[in-house]
């Protein structure tokens, strides 16, 4: 048995292996099939790459080129000015005003939104009656386009005629100049963002919470951890990757906010005194009302770099938190603590 297997390769009937097998004659149909097999994968991805090169890559890359010239909307390309447009933008107080406004609006929307969305997700992560209804109910604002949100909230926060003004007056409080003062206007704009996106983010966080195995909670409950303790020691650590995802996506979106501040006072580009002009609004004002494509392009690239930088900072913070958590936790006892360490390390 063994010997026959061993001798098999040298069996005379086995055809000798030639390094280059003779090509069998293919019919036209077979050749066509082979061509089809080799080329189709490329043909299927080609439309995406060709179109994306035209509408995605080329514009961003060409923006860099425009930013190096004096470039007027109507007169077109002018002199090569090197980095002069960048210098002008970065030494423009209005740019830094827009930068501050963007960060302020972003923080006023991202922080409350994250906290409320997490709490809301925890509320939904229970054996609720009519859970489909509750889930849909919090998503309702998401279907309202930012233009409509801005139009509606501009009325709600109308200094003279809005319901908020009415309530302030009824309580004998000083009227707030929502569209004139810096911080109130940022608050009003952030509330538009919060209204539209909190429920959406809560659903993302809810999905992460539902992926946590129930017996983790069970063991923690047996160990005597109460509801609040379980939320902080199990839920929050275990949904951390999703929380980071939400933070990153809302950063990228928040830095590019345009519609809400544009339409909060549609006759201006971010307020009569630029109280709520954001970076994209500043870019828009440079490019269109002022027709300076060169400086607007420089602004676009500066914002592009800011977004990349924000992504890197997010990433660094995330890693720092992870490393800090990976250190042994002294209170560790019982399965809940073990799970916590596991959740933090993963």
């Amino acid at each position: 048995m063994t010997s026959s297997t061993l001798t098999k390769p040298s069996h005379p009937s086995t055809p000798p292996r030639s390094p280059k097998p003779a090509k069998p004659d293919l019919t036209f149909k077979q050749k066509l099939a082979r061509f089809d097999y080799r080329v189709s994968p490329y043909l299927y991805i080609a439309p995406f790459f060709i179109l994306f090169a035209l509408i995605g890559i080329f514009p961003i890359a060409y923006t860099l080129n425009v930013s190096l010239y004096d470039w007027h909307l109507l007169k077109g390309q002018g002199d090569f000015v090197g980095l002069n447009n960048y210098v002008e933008v970065l030494s423009d107080p209005f740019f830094w005003n827009a930068f501050r406004n963007t960060i302020s609006i972003f923080l006023l929307s991202a922080i409350p939104q994250l906290i409320i969305a997490t709490g809301l997700a925890a509320l939904l992560d229970q054996a609720l009656r009519g859970k489909t209804f509750w889930r849909m109910s919090i998503l309702l604002p998401y279907i309202v386009a930012p233009v409509a949100v801005a139009v509606i909230f501009a009325q709600i926060f109308n200094q003279y005629h809005g319901p908020v003004a009415g309530l302030l007056e009824a309580f004998g409080l000083e009227p707030i100049r929502w569209a004139f003062d810096v911080l109130p206007s940022h608050f009003a704009i952030a509330s538009m963002v919060n209204w539209r996106w909190t429920g959406y983010n809560a659903l993302i966080l809810l999905a992460a919470m539902q992926a946590i195995p129930r017996d983790v909670y069970e063991s923690a409950a047996l160990d005597g951890a109460n509801k609040i303790r379980r939320f902080w020691s199990i839920t929050v650590p275990m949904i951390r990757p999703t929380l980071i995802f939400v933070v990153i996506t809302s950063t990228i979106g928040g830095l590019q906010i345009f519609t809400e501040p544009k339409l909060f006072d549609g006759r201006t580009n971010g307020g009569s005194d630029r109280q709520f002009q954001t970076i994209v609004l500043y870019l828009y004002e440079l490019a269109f009302p002022r027709r300076d494509f060169g400086r607007a392009s420089a602004t676009a690239w500066i914002l592009f770099l800011i977004i990349i930088l924000a992504g890197l900072i997010n990433f660094a913070i995330t890693r720092a938190i992870r490393t800090a958590d990976a250190k042994p936790v002294p209170i560790a006892s019982g399965p809940a603590a073990a799970q916590r360490a596991k959740g933090a390390a993963s």
Binding site: P59, F153, Q155
Partner: protein, 303 residues
Amino acid sequence: MTALITTPKADPDATRRLLDSERRSRRKKAYERPGMLSYALLAAFFIGSAFPLWWSFVIGSRQSSDTNLVPPAIVPGPNFLDKAAEVFATVPFWQALANSIIISGAITVSVVFFSTLAGYSFAKLRFRASNGLLLAVIATMAIPTQLGIIPLFMLMAEWHWIGTLQAVIVPGLVTAFGVFFMRQYLVDVIPDELIEAARMDGASMWGTFWHVAVPAARPAMAVLALFTFMAAWTDFLWPLLVLGPRNPSVQTALAALSASGGQTPDNSMVLAGAVLSVIPLLILFIVAGKQLVAGIMQGAVKG
């Protein structure tokens, strides 16, 4: 005697029932039974979510001077149709509606088709550099393409497309996210053997795609279509730049409406317009809200 015979039979049943009920009650304990407070909080949140929209309808059916009533007006008035008629007289709303349907529809068909095609190729076909090219797709997902509006605008001006619908449609024809999303779905859902079998039976590559991949991809295609349509429908900055006031989308028409009237705008009419602009997606929400929730929870969309 009978007792003796039945006891051994009844015993395991009873034990199982006992174990079952114990397991059930323990699961209940872990899966907290929500109290009234939970429902109250959720109800409050629902009211907060619905209030701005409802209030817009209420004011849109009453009059501008009712905006600052205390407590806020919550009962609709009789004027909604009159206000709607004013909206139609102020901006070309029907045309805006038709334009938005054409723009969003064309973008949706294109994105879903090209994403399915490329996603299938990446998920199931073998070709050189496929990994590198997929990485390129993932990398481009992070690029904020909104920042390329200046060259895109120059391109549209060069092609004399300013004021036309294709100026909005063409820049939306493909998304990197769509390709990645379809790839992620198809890589798990179609067994390689199925594609091999189709090939053995002499099906062409296109035949395999059309008769094997597309039917399997349908659920993901529906989700991608839903979110692509919504994104196209709600887009504002780009349509504002390239569509003129005479050929608006729903969003640019509403923006124009809110700016009409100068210093003394008819707030009631503007809010009626906002409500009208929301109705199409509200219908979509009523029909496909469950799918939207499921799509978001599957991580189908990036923010």
